[in-house]
């Protein structure tokens, strides 16, 4: 209790009294909370500076007044009973959550949600000399605390809504309608009553109304389409910046005419933008609130960003699908073209082969005549010619004989190329035996077959021709200084042996064109048989190896050796016809190892 006049002092209590005074002074002037006291009739006896400042009521105005008379609502609210209890010795706590305030003071925080200061209060008996002489009340201002708690709570709520929005929007095929799905849950939290979204179609830049909520059909019609820069969303689109228009009814801008006439009091438009690309706009409105709180604007901004991300995702996905479809179409077209060209190519080759066969065939007769006449010339009339003349005639004979051999070889090749092939299991050793039996004794001795050779899926006659040509080749290119040795062996492999097969080179004219095999087993499932024909001849230089299987190709250094070079070309073509492969390994001066590879049978 703060005395109106100085209390009589005793000497002993001097120091105590001045200390007491100091405390009372502090309570009156400095205490950071409100303190007031009453007597037992609830007449206000003291009213500290804190209360005076915040109530606008100075102590001089209020001291002496009876509390329940000056603040009659305390009785209505049942709080006066607590004061009566205090006179009986009870201490009461009044929490701000349940009572909001004891005395109605203006709020220290500019907050629309709470016009009054929120107070937590303690009411206690005032005791002196073991007597209750009145009451004391302590008032604490908790407005700031509660406002902060509310703000935090709103933040958490907003964060929760935003994370939900993100997941819904990113999963949606049409994010603008995803927004429609979300809005009912946002409306109560944000104090908005309406929304609408616009989309820019890719080619045009006009805005088209997409999803909406809380607006009348008539307004929807008015909002259906806008040219760039027009309508309530115009400014926002041009600048790619949000536009917030508070107190819409007080504006006169013609852009908002339709919104105003529909009773809207607040409007905000957020552009849905990623980089430079404007997907559209998200607009919100309220028929009740006239302004948008800062955290609400931030929420809508973030929501719009999520919307932009979702729309961008959909756009890119659409582009990707379109690109993929186009690519597939092109691939299909390309395949078709390749098939057509290949067919054409096969046709052409077939025609060429046919032509060369015909030519070779038709050349035989005149060539025989040429040979015949040159022989006659030599035999009948040679004795009439001078030495030079005889020489010329013998050259003529040789040349025409050569011509004959060439055409015959060409004919042989063409026959192989044109033949239809029937595949069957062939005993390779048996084929070699047959060849040997028709060969001269010296050659028979030169050939050795150390182990069994197995069975190949082949055409017997063709395989025989191949082996015969390889042996013939080995004979032709035998080393002059040592006896010829030919070894024939075979090996099986589960897969095709790796290594460049000469006959698989695309531009080898001997092998181009489709094989005419009638074996329909396509890619053989089983193993492959590789037959090696190894000799100790002069070998083949590197640079010749890829060419030797060509028609009329000769190995370098072999010009002196008789033959047209068609032998190996025939081998290559024949292997190709049977769906097989051939190739060679060689070391100059040591010998060559030719190989044929066929499906094992």
């Amino acid at each position: 209790m703060i005395p109106d006049r100085p209390v009589p002092q005793t000497d002993a209590a001097d120091n105590a009294f001045s200390a007491h005074d100091a405390v009372l002074g502090w309570v009156k002037d400095i205490a950071p909370y409100g303190i007031f006291t009453t007597d037992t009739s609830f007449r206000i006896q003291s009213w500290n500076q804190w209360l005076a400042t915040r109530s606008g009521m100075p102590a001089s105005d209020i001291i002496g007044r009876v509390l329940p008379e000056h603040f009659p609502e305390l009785v209505d609210r049942g709080i006066h009973r607590r004061y009566q209890n205090a006179l009986r010795g009870e201490i009461s706590v009044l929490s701000a959550a349940l009572h909001r305030y004891l005395l109605p003071f203006p709020s220290p925080v500019a907050d629309l949600h709470s016009p009054h200061m929120l107070q937590t209060v303690r009411i206690a008996p005032l005791v002196m000399n073991h007597q209750i002489i009145g009451t004391i009340t302590i008032v604490e201002d908790v407005t700031e605390r509660e406002t902060q708690a509310l703000i935090l709570q709103r933040q958490q709520q907003h964060e929760h809504m935003l994370s939900r929005a993100l997941s819904v929007l990113l999963r949606a095929n049409d994010p603008m309608h995803g927004i429609a799905e979300l809005f009912p849950s946002f409306v109560p939290a944000l104090g908005i009553d309406a929304f609408f979204t616009h989309i820019t179609k890719a080619d045009e830049r006009t805005l088209h109304l997409s999803a909406s909520g809380g607006i009348l059909a008539r307004l929807k019609d008015d909002l259906a389409t806008f040219a760039p820069g027009e309508g309530p969303c115009g400014v926002s689109c041009l600048n790619s910046e949000p536009v917030i228009v508070p107190d819409l009814q007080a504006t006169t801008d013609p852009r908002y005419r339709e919104l105003r006439s529909n009773g809207m009091r607040l409007f905000a438009c957020f552009p849905v933008v990623i980089g430079d690309y404007l997907h559209g706009t998200l607009s919100v409105g309220s028929y009740n609130e006239i302004s948008l709180a800062e955290d609400e604007a931030k929420f809508l901004s973030t929501l719009t960003q999520y919307l932009a991300l979702a729309m961008e995702r959909v756009r890119r996905e659409t582009q990707l699908i379109a690109a993929r479809t186009t690519l597939q179409e092109h691939a299909g077209n390309l395949e078709q073209k390749v098939r057509e060209r290949t067919a054409l190519l096969h046709d052409t080759i077939a025609q060429l082969e046919s032509f060369s066969y015909t030519v070779a065939h038709d050349l035989r007769a005149p060539i025989r005549a040429l040979q015949g006449y040159s022989e006659v010339l030599g035999e009948e009339f040679g004795h009439l010619l001078p030495a030079e003349g005889k020489l010329t005639v013998s050259r003529l004979a040789r040349a025409s004989k050569r011509l004959d051999v060439l055409t015959r070889d060409l004919l042989r090749f063409s026959k192989v190329a044109r033949a239809d092939v029937e595949l069957a299991p062939v005993d390779v050793a048996d084929v070699i035996e047959e060849l040997k039996s028709e060969a001269p004794q010296t050659l028979q001795n030169a050939i050795s077959v150390p182990a069994s050779l197995g069975f190949a899926q082949a055409q017997r006659t063709l395989l025989q021709q191949c082996l015969a040509n390889l042996i013939e080749n080995a004979v032709k290119f035998a080393h002059p200084q040592r006896p010829l040795r030919i070894t024939i062996r075979s090996e099986q492999a589960a897969e095709r042996t790796k290594g460049v097969a000469t006959s698989s080179l695309a531009f080898n004219p001997a092998t181009f064109g489709s094989p005419k095999s009638t074996d329909t087993s396509a890619a053989p499932q089983g193993s492959w048989l590789r037959i090696w024909v190894e000799d100790n001849g002069i070998g083949i230089p590197d640079r010749s190896r890829s060419k030797i299987f060509g028609i009329f190709e000769r190995s370098a250094g072999s010009e002196n050796i008789e033959g047209t070079g068609i032998g190996l070309a025939i081998v290559a073509r024949a292997m190709h016809q049977m769906g097989g492969f051939c190739g060679v390994e060689s070391i100059v001066g040591q010998g060559s190892r030719f190989w044929l590879e066929l499906p094992a049978a």
Binding site: G89, E90, I91, S92, V93, A96, L98, Q153
Partner: protein, 206 residues
């Protein structure tokens, strides 16, 4: 010291009267009908109370305590498990957002509820037993049962201490919240209380 069954009954009746008043005040406070149940009254030596409580209560507890002085003196507590305290604050404050935790505002609400209950009980001692006590300002503690009982027993000055343990259940808005009212007294105060209780009983019979 053990209570005789007649003493237990008398004490229970006394607490019931107090709770009746508290329930009335609490109902007015919240606007909803609040009722309080008193299933059990027991008395234990103070050292036994902590272990007993720890059997039924887990984690930290929220306790509103008021020291009282007069012909009997001691410490009165309303003790609730922290979760229960939060639920209670939400039941009383219906405008409160459910996502708020046991923050300052919730603590104030629980303090007020405890204050009303303790005032009612101790007030009953005053009215019916003619023992006038004065109270100190109520305080809220949030700590383990052990720590709580430790700081409570430090306050009392009289030799051996006893605790009156009264299991309490709040019923409101289709919910139940349970807690304990504990009144810690020294032997002298307990003695005096029991004597006054006998006197009161006798007055009833007459």
């Amino acid at each position: 010291m053990e209570l005789m069954s007649s003493q237990k009954d008398a004490l229970t009746e006394l607490i019931n009267i107090g709770y009746g008043r508290a329930a009335g005040a609490l109902s007015e406070l919240t606007g909803y009908r609040v009722s309080l149940e008193v299933p059990q009254v027991a008395i234990h030596e103070i050292e036994k109370i902590s272990p007993l409580l720890q059997e039924v209560v887990s984690g930290e507890v929220a306790a509103v305590n008021q020291v009282f002085n007069g012909p009997i003196s001691g410490n009165a507590l309303l003790m609730l498990e922290q979760d229960a305290a939060l639920v209670l604050s939400r039941l009383f404050d219906h405008e409160r957002a459910p996502t708020r935790g046991f923050d300052a505002s919730a603590r104030e609400v629980v303090t007020e509820i405890g204050n009303i209950l303790l005032n009612a009980c101790l007030g009953v001692f005053g009215n019916l037993l003619h023992i006038q006590v004065s109270f100190a300002v109520p305080r809220l503690h949030v700590e383990t049962v052990d720590h709580l009982m430790h700081s409570i027993t430090r306050d009392t000055q009289e030799g051996v201490s006893y605790g009156l343990m009264i299991q309490t259940r709040f019923n409101l808005r289709a919910s139940d919240v349970s807690g304990y009212l504990i009144i810690v007294l020294g032997i002298t105060s307990l003695d005096r209380l029991m004597r006054e209780l006998d006197h009161w009983e006798n007055r009833q019979i007459k």
